[in-house]
Every structure is written in C-alpha cells, then in structure tokens.
C-alpha cells in the first residue's frame, strides 16, 4: 500500500529538504530548487506545499531562535519524517517501473 501519492513539486521540495539536512529552511530550500531544478519558486508556493506535506505527516518543522541578521525574525526549519522518506522511495520506484524499457532517443529507438 502506497504511503502517500506525491506530486512532482512535492517530490522536488522533499528532495531539497533531504539534500540540505540540518540547514533546511526557506531560503536555502528555494535556492536549492532554483539551482538544481532550474525553476524559481515563490515563497507562497513553497510554504503552501511544505504546510501540506506537514499535514500529511511527511515532514516535521520547528522554529529556531531568532537571529539578528534577519531583523530578529526566527527561521522555520524542516526535516523529513520516516513517512516522507518512504513516500519518496515509493515515488522513485514507481517512476523507475514506468521508465523501464523506454527509450526516448531517436537512435535508441531505432536500435
């Protein structure tokens, strides 16, 4: 039984959080997605997704103590929960299964 169905953007966000480890909060997450996936992400979209993932029990978030360089505002950090890791693994397996035996390249398809 699948843990949870993940949309594409949800997968991207989860992967970004996973890659960043302990340093996963808003700014680096968006940076990571912008650099690796090559698409800019708005704050609104990111937080909406993270909230949804949290309510599904895939990530956990907590507020760190305020730091002076952000105008005294605290950061909200994210970490993957076991259920989140499971869902990612499931998505990957599903995609791999779907991709098996498919070649998109012209040369490949001729071969």
């Amino acid at each position: 039984m699948p843990a949870a169905y993940l949309g594409e953007f949800e997968q991207i966000v989860l992967l970004a959080v996973l890659r960043l480890g302990d340093g996963a909060y808003g700014v680096p997450i968006r940076q990571e997605i912008a650099e690796r996936a090559g698409r800019p992400v708005t704050v609104g979209a990111l937080y909406a997704t993270l909230d949804r993932l949290e309510s599904k029990g895939l990530v956990h978030s907590w507020f760190a103590d305020p730091t002076p360089q952000r105008g005294g505002r605290s950061k909200r950090y994210f970490r993957l929960l076991p259920k989140g890791t499971e869902a990612l693994a499931e998505s990957r397996t599903m995609l791999q299964n779907m991709w098996r035996g498919i070649r998109l390249n012209k040369e490949d398809s001729r071969a």
Binding site: G26, V27, T42, V43, G44, Y47, R70, R76
Partner: protein
Amino acid sequence: MPDLPPRAAERLVRWLVGGRDADAVTGDLRESFAARGGGRAWYWGQALSCAAVRFSPSRRMLPGLGQDFHYALRTLRRNPGYALTAMVCLALAMGVNATLFSFLDSVYFRRLPVPDPDRIVQVMRSGAVFCTWPEFQSLHNNFRTLQAATQLVAAADAELGRVSFNVAVEIVSSNYAQVLRPGTTIGNWFTPADDSAGGDPPVVISDRLWKQRLNGSPDVIGKPLRLFDRTYRIAGVAPPAFHGALPPVFQDLWIPASTVLSSASPLRVNLVARLAPGATFEQARAELQVVAARLDPNHPVRVYHAKGFLWRNGSKAFMPVIALMSAVCAMVLLIACVNVANLLLSRAAVRQHELALRQSLGAGRARLFRETLVEAMLLSAGGVVFGLIAGYWTGRALEIALPSVPVEMYQGLRFTMDWRVALLLGAAGVGSAILFSLPQAFAAGRTGLNAALKGDSGSARSRQREFYTVAQVALSLTLLIATALLLRALLRVQDIGPSFATDHRLYVSVWASKDTPPDEAQHTLTGLLERARAIPGVQDATLAWEVFGSGNLCAATSAQEAPQPLNGNVVEPNYFDMMRIPILQGRAFLPVGSLHDQPEVIVNQTMARRWWPNGDALGKPLWVGCKTSQRKIGQVVGVARDVADGGFGDVPDPLFYLSRLQDPGNGHFSLVIRTAGNPCLWAKPLLEIAQGGGPHLRVFEVESLDDTVGKSLWEVKWQAGVLGALGLLAILLAAIGVYGVVAHSVAQRTREIGVRMAVGAAPADVHWMVLAHGLRLTAMGIAVGLLLSAAAVRLLRGFLYGLSPFDPLAFATASLAWIAIAMLASWFPARRATRVDPLAALKYE
C-alpha cells in the same frame, strides 16, 4: 542602497500568512532580499504569491469555486448588454433601498456626531419633562455617574444686521459643550465661566446658518445677533454634522439658558447626559431613577442610549411612513429580482444546448446551480455597488430638497451611506441573488436532457418566464393603484380644505396638568383668554380642546344605553362665531355657565341626522361621559354645520360640542386668536401670555392655522410624490420585463413567423399576434394585480383623508395606464416581427 524591503508589502505578507509562520516567511524574504541586493518589484511578486495561496480555491471549502467565478465573469463580459441590463435593474431597486436603509439607520441607530457617542444617554420621563430649571441648577453638579446638561428648544425670530428670520434655538445649560463635546469649526463654545462674565452673552451658530446667512465668512466671531430682545455675540460655529441634541430636528442657534431663564423660572427642561469616566450605563440609570423619583414620583423616568431620532420619540412619529416606504421599497426590489430572474432564464434558454451537454457529460445539477448562483452573486454585487452610489446621490438630493419643507421633523433628515447601510444592502443583495437564481435551478431540473440536446425550445421555461412577467405586472399595478389613490386624495384635500376660517388666525396650545384643581384650571384659562383679547391688534380670541380634528368622548341617548365612543370637542362659547361655523338650528352656547350646570350640547349635522333621523334633535337629552357612573345628562341646544375633522376631506363623522365653561375637558386647550394683520407677528405676545399662565400651565407649539393646513397638505404631497416616484420606477422595471419576454418570444418564433408570412399572413396579422401576446400577459397581471391591490390598499387607509381605498377611478386609471404601457412595451418587438424576411427565416432553418 535599499537594504530594507517595502514596508507595506512586508505588512501584507505578515497579514496573509499570519501566526508564527509570518515571522519565518518575512525573515526568509528579508534574507533573500538582502542577498539579491534589493528589488522591490520582486518582493511585491513574492507577496502576491502569498495572496494567491491564501485565497486559492483549493484551500477553501468549495473546490472549483474560483473556476465558477472565472466562468461567470467571462459570461458577463461576453454579454455586456445582458449584464448591464441586469445590473441597472438591480441598481435602481438597490438605490431606493439604500436610501431607505440610510433613513432607517438614522431613525434607529445613528449616534450623535460627537466624541464617544456611546456614552451619551437620553433621559425621558413618561408624560412629563425631567425637572424644572432651578431643580437642575441645584442638582447637576451632584451626579456621581454622569455629567448632565439640559436643553429646551424654542422657535424664535433672530436678527442679523437688519435681516430678521425664523430660527430654531436650543436653549442649553452652559455646560452643554463640556458634556456633549461637539467641537466647533471656528470660535469656541460657551462654558459655565461665561455665565458670570459681563457684556453681551455668547451664542453658537449652526454651520447651516453660518453658510446661508453669513456666507461662511471666517470673521463672524464677535458679530452681534439679536434674539429674544437682547443682543448676543457669536462665539463659535458648530461643525457641519452637529445639529443639536435632538435629531432629526435641526437647531440653528445655541444659547446659554441663564440668558433667558431666570433662576426661579418654573419652566421644565430636558436632560442630556454623558456617563462619567468609569461609570456604567446601569449605574447611571439607577442614580437617575432615584433622583427623578425624589423630584416627581408620579412620572417614572426612562434612560436610553442616545441613538436614532431623539426628538419627541421621533422614531415613533415616523412609524407609519417607515412601514409604507419599507413595503414599497421591498416591492420594487422584488420586481427587479423578477426581472433579473427573467433575464437569467432567457440566458439559460440560449445556453440550453451547452448546459444539457455538460449535464450529460457528468456535471451535477448542484454544480450547475452553483454556477448560476455565482453569476447571480456577481450581478447582485454590481447592483449593490451601483445602488450604493445611486443611494448616495438620492440621499444628497433629498438633503438639498428637504430643508425647504415646512415640517421641521423632515428638515434635519440625513441620508448617510455608512457601513451599516452597506452591510444591510449587501445582505439584501445576497438574498436577491438567491431569489433570482432559484427559478433557473428549478427550470434546469425539469428540462429533459434529450429534448434539450435535440434543440427543442424549453416551453416550460417560457411558461415560467410568462408567469414571472404576470407577477411583475401585478406587483407594479399595486404600486400604481396606491399612487393613484394618493394623488386622488391629494386633489380632494386641496379641493376641500378645512371647512372653517383659517386666515389671520394663530394658536398656542397649552396644558393645565392633571393635578390642577378644575376650578383653578378654569380660572387660568379664562384669564388667558382675557389677556389674549387685550393684546393690541387682536380682534378676538377663543379656546378649543382641538383646533383641528376632535377628541374622544362618549355619549348615549338614554340612561339605560351604554356609553358610545364618539368624536367630541370642548369649546369656548364664541368658538362657532370666531371659526365661522354656522349654527343651522337652535343657538350657540351661552357665554355663561359653571362646571355644576346641566351641560348644553351642540351636535353637528351628521350626528343630528343619524341619531335623531326625524330631524328633531333640538331639546333631546344626551348622556355625556364614558363611565356610566360619572356621566351627566345634557340637552341638545343647537345643530352646527359639519366641519372636516380628523383630517381635511374626511367624510364627516358624528360630532358633538360641549361648552368649555361647563366641562373642563382634559386640560389640553388651544388658545386661538384672530389678528388684524400677519398672524405670525403676534406669536411673541401670545407666547408670553401663555407662559405667564401660572406654574401649572405647560406651553406647546405656536402656529398659524394656515401653516398647519399647509403642513398637512405637504405631508400628503410628499407621500404621493415619493410613492409616485417609486411607482414609476416599478413600472419602468416591469415594462422592461414585458418587453424582454415578448422580444424573446419573437426571437424564438422567427421561423414560425417566417412560415406564416410565406404562406400569406399580412404584416398586420403578425403585428397583432405579437401585441396580443404582450396584452395577454398584461391582462393576467392586471387581474392578479387588482386582487392584490384590493388586499393591500387597506393599509393605505390612514393616508387617504377619507377617500375610500377602493376608489374605482384610481383602480380604473391605473389599469388603463398599464395596458397602454404594455402596448408600448410590446410594440417594438411586434414591429421587428413584421420585418422578418420569410426567405431569410426559412434559410436559417
């Protein structure tokens, strides 16, 4: 270098996100903003993304609502004619309702335009005024829970430069401004310190007086103003919104009471108070009740929050008008709703195919209805917005027109569009939207999918539209009949007028309170009469219980019979002579008499005819009095000509007169004088005499009889005018409805008409066919409307001045007028039908 993000955008984000997340999100944004090295546009873009998330449909209860919204908006944009017609119909109806709501708001809810209006309380005594002026002076500093000021209104002649004019003066205690804190535009209010200051006393003038009489010039402070035979100096100008402590009555001037009332003056004054800091309303009420009971235990005191109309229970005085206007405005809104419902139905007929297709592809009926509802809400929202604008301008126009009317109650009416009005109108809009989208929901449910997909026109829907048109005609006919009735009543009143002399006559009404011994009251009244006759230029004076109309008395023809309620009047013996009411049989009252006499009775013609049909009323006994144990036996000594009583133009009712010398009445009397010239010049001496009538005498209004007549005529005119305007609006809306239905049926029957013409129908036949369709609907509407009117016009009885509510002329005129309107409304579609080109129509097939 801009290292701080735009504050407004940041605040917007905080508001949109909310909670602790707001901190994290703005923190993130600030960090990125600094890393980017600025970019206000970028920041605003991020803020908008938060808004999109916040308001996105997926986060709401109803998924797809945004889609519905877009769809409805697109539909409206693509059919601007339809959208505009619907919105204009709604806006017209919403406009009159907005005006009505703002009126209701000021009658019931609006606070005085002063700081902390919630802490102002109004103190009333049932049946009496709070306390006398000396009593107030001794007690006003002793209240613990409130600061109290007094006020008293008076009409007076003021003189500025050499011009004199009539003003409404609020005579107030000098702490008035400290209690109410109304503020000034220029200058200052007087304070208790001014009471002991020498020189001319201060006066504060209203913004209206300042602008009308002094051209709003800023150097008016210190200018002299003559009032009550002394010179005042203008100390300040009140702010435009402040009209005194008795809305809706407009005050022009405020003067300290100490300048007109001596410290021993027994004149009673009203209380207006502000709760002391920290005191609650309940505490203040308790304290006032104790104080009031000590001063006068017979008249219990009532304490209110000051809101709405405070003038003599103004909200009650307006009750009949409010009831009538509310009913009429609701009717106009209903007619507009029916119109829009019709429009929606005709749109649905056009989109039938599309709707059926979607339904067969799985769109639920609920979903389709929601789509209609969203469209309806959009239309309604447009109607409400335009309605508020229309209402604002209507209110402004009324505010400009009303101050010139002769009834002071109407002069100060204000029509402000505030949040309460907007809220109420919004609610009306939502209700209307639901109302006018319902018919389509039912129609959509009934149409068979198969038939609709094949393109058969929904006859059920057309029938439904016809039904609504009939309803519309019926409703607007009711309004038209009501208007016709009022106009007829107006003509009659103007025709008849009061049937006694009113020229050169002035009256002041006085009341000898109940605790006055009857003999003393008689003496006081006789004294008043004598002194009034002694005023230079006064030709005669008389007293009457009621100058206009009559009071309630009882009488019976024998001792065995139970007393019957009857109209009666108690008058001075010279009353008939002075008011030129001829005595047709017998004689008038003798100028002598005492309370212990057997009372003489004079009856009017109607009473003589009905009670003694043989024409032998003279000399007959009449038991007078409402309690069997207390009644006295009197004798009919004369028959007087009928006068219009109760209101002009009334059918005369039986009425009898008693001599004032033999019956004390209930202490209320009007002292009427006949003067040599313009009666208003005698107002001051008359008032002086009335006020000098002794400690038990209370004085009410002074007015010339002609003015009173003018005022009551004005009320009928006003009602007829407003009702007429609303009736016209209703007719316009209903005519649009008839036009829409007939035009739509012509469009749908184009092919049929083409065939008819191809096989030889003459244009005149086609013309008549379409016209007949419109007339058939109208005829049905008129039939229903007549029944509806017969039920509704009873409510008008009080406004008709004796005209029967079933006046056949009014009913007939209104019905004929509607037939003419229906002809006109169907004329244009009919003409279009005759121009159908048979070839083109058949080719279309």
